[in-house]
Amino acid sequence: MSQVDYDLVIIGGGPAGLTAGLYAARAKLNVLLVEKIVPGGQILVTDWIENYPGFPEGLSGADLVLKMSEQVKKFGLNIETHEVISVDFSQAVKTVRVSDKAITCHTVIIATGASPKKLGVPGEDIFFGKGVSFCATCDAPFYKDCIVAAVGGGDTAVQESMYLTKFVKKVYLIHRRDQLRAAAILQERAFKNEKIDFIWDSVVTDIIGGLTNVEKVAVKNVKSGETRELVVDGCFVWVGIEPNTQFLTNDVSMDKYGFILADLNMETSAPGVYAAGDVRNTPLRQVVTAVGDAAIAAFSAQHYIESL
């Protein structure tokens, strides 16, 4: 067994990955955490977290992650920056391939999270960061007194649209159905907000602009087929999330959306491979649920290693 690099490799450095790392490091496992960019994940763009226990005043997502990073450093967690390209879970010794090497290990925790889904329309990629945004809390201050489009009808779309109205003159909230999916209390607040103009039964088909800025969005009514253009300075997209599982093929079982299926021990269909946080098929995606998953996954990995 001496030729195996690590007991455990954790893929992803958001709240789930860092928590798994914390538990594994404290359990004195030989562990490596692999992160694509820097520790953080989606939570970095959350401007204020009020529902993470222990912080009655609330704190920013960035500060919470910073504290988690400090905590894992204290226990000596080894973190490397790599993007995982592929994995092989078919043998007892698993392999995680990054750009310049293959890392071998006995167990893996997948904690790669999820990313905002794109609309997939012309203009979306060209104008990303120049009028197209997936995050009001990051980019809303650039739209002071502007008119913007927002796409979606779920909790995120409604909540973020309301946040936008602190800055903008007007939000066109474009939704493909004739009613919102968002929680009742959010809907109630949104309908009362005079800056939000609802465009029902409609989809954005094109994002149009000049060299460096968005000027219009083309909108199509899915019932009547009628199309029109709205003059806007930006377009915010909140049409759901998708799991970050591009490096997986048929390595573990997933649901039809690509979220990883795991049992009560967070174990996937591959023995010794666990999933934690937003990447997992789970009814709730919050920091508290991600860190809970991660603690269980690390505990399960430890038992698996001890039984080898």
């Binding site: 960019i37 953080g40 960035a62 120049k130 945004s133 980019d139 930006g234």
Partner: protein
Amino acid sequence: MAEGILEINDGSFETEVIQSDKPVLVDFWAPWCGPCKAIAPIMEELVGDFGDKLKFTKFNVDDSPVTPGKYGIRAIPTLILFKDGEISEQIVGMVAKSKLEESINKIL
């Protein structure tokens, strides 16, 4: 402010970036931006590796809105690499160190 990173604004942009002899990396950021904070350590590491050949700057978009407007910046972090006063590459959002090294090596 990290050592080796020059703080610039609307007033000094022309002199420090457009007229710079060396290529320049401008990191457009704001205090309320979580991802900007998160990539700060990458910037500091890059200063260590490329600080003699590339000028590293930070530009607070809250204090100086004119230049970001001119370059169509509507999201941060936005990193722009300038060579001879012209944009060589504009990168939006969080980015891995290896990707930045690649972009920097292209203009050096």
